[in-house]
């Protein structure tokens, strides 16, 4: 046959590969016959084409060989065999199957939940197109007391940076949402609704990727009388987001109130944006009201920059560090860049450097998730190596018949993969069921969907769990000697089980560490929440002085005071969780002129000290009975300390070039989170402030608030009445800590339960094996206590070793975390004793259930069979 007369080899091979073995010969014959005939009658090319077509037409069920194969001992059959054995093993040892299933599935479920949470945290603020080049300029204030880091920068900074530093492409200065007050009121007709606003410079929308739906990024915020609004607000106000450019809207917030023209509509910021705003005004509008901010030596707006694509942030950092020194002589501030999308996770600073924040808690949770999985894997390892003695014959026979070590390993690994797959299905069900509750705890809106991230974590976690649980038993069991296993000789290392003990010790060390950290975190959170802050925040409410209230504060407050149930009222310009101004403009007799000392500036109204129950150390507080409007000042003790003043009351100081008399000193109270120490501060009486605070009697809360509302409506009939509790602000301050505490409590509980399950299975198995020994001992006169001791002393020792390992490690970890707080609990001895005791009790409880049952057995029962 000439060479040309061959059918396409590719198709022939393909046919030979898929065709059912029984049909291969005659079908190939048929194909060849048709090919030869066509080659003769037509031509070879057509024949080859016909052949390929025939092969493809034959590729159908009925002709393709079945998956189980007709040839014996293929990979498929081995898998089939392993699956069968695995299922039989599950059936026979129901206890260990259930323990493994519970452990692995809960472990996987915890892991998936945490990974969803972590992913949601990681993508926050990452949606901006120029994320890699987007930075915020941070301000380090150097003082004798240390470095304070803040986001406030001079207003002209942004423009100057973009002009003078070539690596900086664009910049924006922003008065962020929540300045002075969380929101203002906006209206297109009569009714006002709440909305949050920002004041920005013209390039804002070129830096940040909030899509512009109407208008252009060049002129959307270029005019003082213009305003850009979000799509959501547009729909709330006008029921549409189209064709609104040029329409008017009314805006009411303190001095910025007025009518504005809509210049554009932007897409509502997505949920994963840290900044949520509805309106954007031109920064000039703000600066007109606060002209002092146009100077280089005052700081307030935030500055954002976008670097050139190839710019090295480290290099730019070094360039801008001393930038302010070129504008202000003797500036006490240095600047540095922080990646915009990293602010959310790392928002705490120590000594002018990033010192963590949420990222710490995310790390903690991730580690917990992995630890729980490892604990579950250890259960699987322990139970399957312990069970090995039951399978010695199986291993021996397989090896004698000729199974290679690799084949045996494959068998045991496939067992663990099988187990993990079943656990995976259960885990997914658990996640779906638990997710709504998890969302309530975390305050997130997570949904479980099979996107890239989920599929990736799912498959990686499942694969490694299966591998980790299976690899040790596989190595270990496949390495047993065929002859001795068949003879029934138990390998020495198997009966001693050192590695098993080691793993139990490891499991319990982890559990103890988790218990201890939960105790410490819980104590610290409770401490924070209940610490005497130096003022009383209970039952103190505040409302913002919008509209007519702004002008008529005094009359409003005097009428408010007359409402029964209102204990006291005051006004205030800040909140008590870290928003305040700062100034270096205080001087006094004996001050070293070279030292820059900055003071917190609190602008308050009458009765501030009384309403918040702040204690006086010396002197008196502001009072209507004296002429206090001008020339008076109050300090806190910390301020008096840094000034080194004795008998301060009656002495004079200079504030912003104006002489003031100290009338009183208050005891220190906390102005911000307990991560910070109490800073020197002064209280300055101002006639107008943006918030009215009032303390109420809790018994008549509802009726009092209703009366306050009626009064408020009298002043501002168009505005909605909104109030907030001071306490809630304070609670929000520690939201991430609180969340972590609650989550870690749950996950710690799960970890302990899984470890105990493993221990339970192990003890059950071991006592069952020693049942005959127990019977004989009892016949020879051993008492129940003696036998219980015999069985449990081993486990007692393991838990003790675990305690010895775990305590020092957890001491270091918890101490490290606590050190980040300026005010913290001390690590008490009973935290350690307590968590050790819990571990011992839980372990002994688990062991005791089994051993007492075994020790009480009637010896006849277990000895009669032989």
């Amino acid at each position: 046959m000439s060479k040309k007369h061959t059918p396409p080899k590719l198709f022939l091979d393909f046919f030979r590969w898929f065709c059912h073995r029984d049909y291969l010969e005659d079908l190939e014959g048929d194909l060849m016959e048709r090919f030869e005939r066509r080659a003769k009658e037509k031509n070879v090319r057509k024949a080859r084409r016909g052949f390929s077509k025939d092969v493809i037409q034959l590729f159908r069920p009925g002709i393709i060989k079945s998956l189980s194969g007709t040839q014996k001992l293929t990979t498929y059959d081995m898998l089939h065999h392993h699956a069968l054995l695995t299922l039989r093993n599950f059936k026979r040892y129901k206890n260990s199957f259930l323990i493994n299933l519970t452990g692995l599935s809960t472990g996987l479920a915890c892991f998936f939940l945490i990974s969803l949470y972590v992913h949601d945290e990681l993508i926050i603020d990452k949606f901006h197109e120029n994320d890699d080049q987007l930075y915020q300029v941070m301000n380090n204030l150097h003082q004798s007391a240390g470095i304070t880091t803040g986001s406030q920068t001079p207003a002209p900074l942004g423009k100057a940076l973009a002009e003078e530093i070539p690596e900086i492409k664009l910049s924006a200065s922003v008065i962020p949402v929540g300045f002075n007050n969380d929101y203002g009121l906006v209206s297109a007709g009569d009714n006002y609704i709440k909305a949050a606003e920002q004041y920005v410079t013209k390039d804002y929308f070129k830096l940040f990727s909030y899509k512009i739906l109407e208008g252009t990024s060049a002129d959307i915020v270029s005019r003082k009388e213009g305003v850009a609004i979000s799509e959501a607000l547009a729909i709330k106000l006008f029921n549409t987001s189209n064709g609104l450019v040029g329409k008017d809207l009314k805006w009411a917030k303190e001095d910025f109130s007025g009518e504005f023209v809509i210049t554009g509509i932007f897409e509502t910021p997505p949920k994963n944006s840290t900044v949520q705003f509805d309106l954007v005004f031109n920064l000039e509008l703000f600066l007109d009201q606060a002209p002092y901010l146009r100077k280089w030596w005052n700081s307030d707006p935030e500055t954002y920059v976008r670097l050139e694509n190839n710019a090295d942030p480290v290099y730019v950092n070094s360039k801008i560090e001393k930038f302010l020194h070129t504008k202000v002589r003797n500036s006490a501030s240095t600047l540095f860049l922080q990646r915009y999308s990293e602010r959310y996770l790392n928002s705490r600073y120590e000594n002018g450097q990033v010192a963590g924040g949420r990222s710490q808690y995310i790390r903690l949770l991730s580690v917990t998730a992995i630890l729980i999985l490892i604990i579950a894997c250890i259960n699987f390892i322990n139970l399957s190596t312990a069970k090995a003695s039951r399978r010695l014959k199986e291993i021996g026979i397989k090896k004698a018949i000729g199974a290679s070590r690799r084949m045996m390993m494959f068998q045991f690994l496939s067992e663990s993969f099988f187990m993990t797959l079943i656990a995976l299905i259960l885990a997914l069900t658990m996640v779906v069921i638990a997710l709504p509750h998890f969302n309530v705890i975390t305050g997130k809106e997570l949904i479980f969907q099979l996107d890239q991230w989920t599929v990736l974590t799912l498959s990686i976690a499942t694969f490694f769990t299966a591998l980790l649980s299976g690899i040790y038993p596989a190595f270990y069991l496949s390495g047993l000697n065929a002859i001795s296993t068949l003879k029934g000789i138990f390998p020495v290392q198997l009966s001693k089980g050192h590695s098993r003990k080691g793993l139990v010790v490891f499991q319990f060390s982890i559990s103890i560490m988790l218990i201890l950290s939960v105790i410490v975190v819980y104590q610290q959170i409770t401490y924070i929440q209940s610490k005497n802050l130096g003022y009383s925040r209970e039952n103190v409410l505040y409302i913002s002085n919008d509209g007519a209230l702004n002008e008529q504060q005094e009359s409003f407050r005097s009428r408010l005071k007359n409402i029964p149930g209102v204990v006291n009222t005051t006004s205030f310009y800040h909140d008590l969780v870290g928003d305040y101004g700062r100034t270096g403009g205080v001087s006094w007799k004996g001050k070293d002129p070279d030292v820059i000392m900055s003071f917190v500036n609190l602008e308050v109204g009458y009765d501030f000290v009384e309403t918040l129950s702040i204690e006086m150390a010396e002197g008196r507080s502001y009072s209507h009975d004296f002429q206090d409007q001008k020339g008076k000042i109050m300090f806190n003790e910390a301020a008096i300390d840094v000034m080194g003043m004795e008998d301060p009351v009656g002495k004079k100081i200079i504030l912003w070039g104006e002489e003031r008399e100290i009338i009183g000193v208050v005891r220190d109270f906390h102005l911000e989170s307990l991560y910070e120490t109490i800073k020197p501060c002064f209280l300055q009486l101002v006639p107008k402030a943006n918030k009215t605070l009032f303390k109420i009697q809790p018994e008549t809360k509802t009726s009092t608030i209703r009366q306050v509302q009626t009064l408020y409506q009298e002043f501002n009939p168009d505005f909605p009445f909104e109030y907030k509790y001071l306490e809630d602000d304070y609670r929000d301050l520690y939201a991430p800590e609180k969340q972590t505490e609650v989550l870690s409590r749950y996950f710690c509980g799960i970890a302990i339960i899984i470890s105990c399950l493993g221990l339970f299975g192990l003890v059950a198995f071991i006592t069952e094996k020693r049942l005959k020994e127990i019977g004989i001992r009892k016949i020879l006169g051993s008492g129940t206590t003696r036998i219980v001791y015999l069985l449990s002393s081993d486990f007692g020792k393991m838990v003790l070793i675990a305690i010895i390992i775990a305590l020092p490690v957890s001491y270091l970890l918890t101490k490290n975390w606590l050190d980040s707080f300026a005010y913290r609990i001390s690590l008490e001895w009973w935290f350690f004793a307590g968590s050790g005791l819990v571990a011992v009790l839980v372990a002994w409880g688990t062991v005791a259930v089994q051993t007492i049952k075994a020790a009480n057995i009637n010896p006849v029962e277990c000895l009669k069979d032989e």
């Binding site: 049909y23 010969e25 005659d26 079908l27 190939e28 014959g29 048929d30 194909l31 060849m32 016959e33 048709r34 030869e36 005939r37 025939d54 493809i56 037409q57 034959l58 590729f59 159908r60 069920p61 009925g62 002709i63």
Partner: protein, 109 residues
């Protein structure tokens, strides 16, 4: 309905196998069908039906002798089993019954 249900294609294949008597192997069946019925038959469709009929017990098969053509591969000859013959006869009877039941005027004769 009879318990032996035959599809149209199945029926034709069995009839062709019967026509060819001892010479019914894959290619021969296709040729015969294409020639007599004037329709295209794909090798895949035919072969699956043949195997199915064999599994049902309507057909049986045996290998022929190896020859030099066909790449030295043997042919597989199909024959009707007696069960298969019975089923065919039943089908035929049903058809005839139907034909007979048609009133004369319907077909216009």
């Amino acid at each position: 309905m009879s318990k032996h249900h035959l599809g149209e294609f199945e029926e034709i294949v069995m009839l062709t196998v019967a026509v060819l008597h001892d010479e019914a192997y894959g290619i021969a069946i296709i040729d015969e069908m294409e020639q007599r019925l004037n329709r295209k038959v794909s090798i895949g469709a035919l072969q699956t039906v043949l195997r199915r009929l064999e599994k049902k017990g309507y057909l049986s098969s045996r290998f022929g002798e190896a020859t030099k053509v066909r790449g030295g591969k043997r042919k597989r000859y199909f024959t009707l089993t007696s069960y298969g013959k019975k089923v065919l006869a039943e089908v035929k009877e049903q058809r005839i019954g139907l034909w007979n039941a048609i009133p004369k005027f319907v077909l216009g004769e």
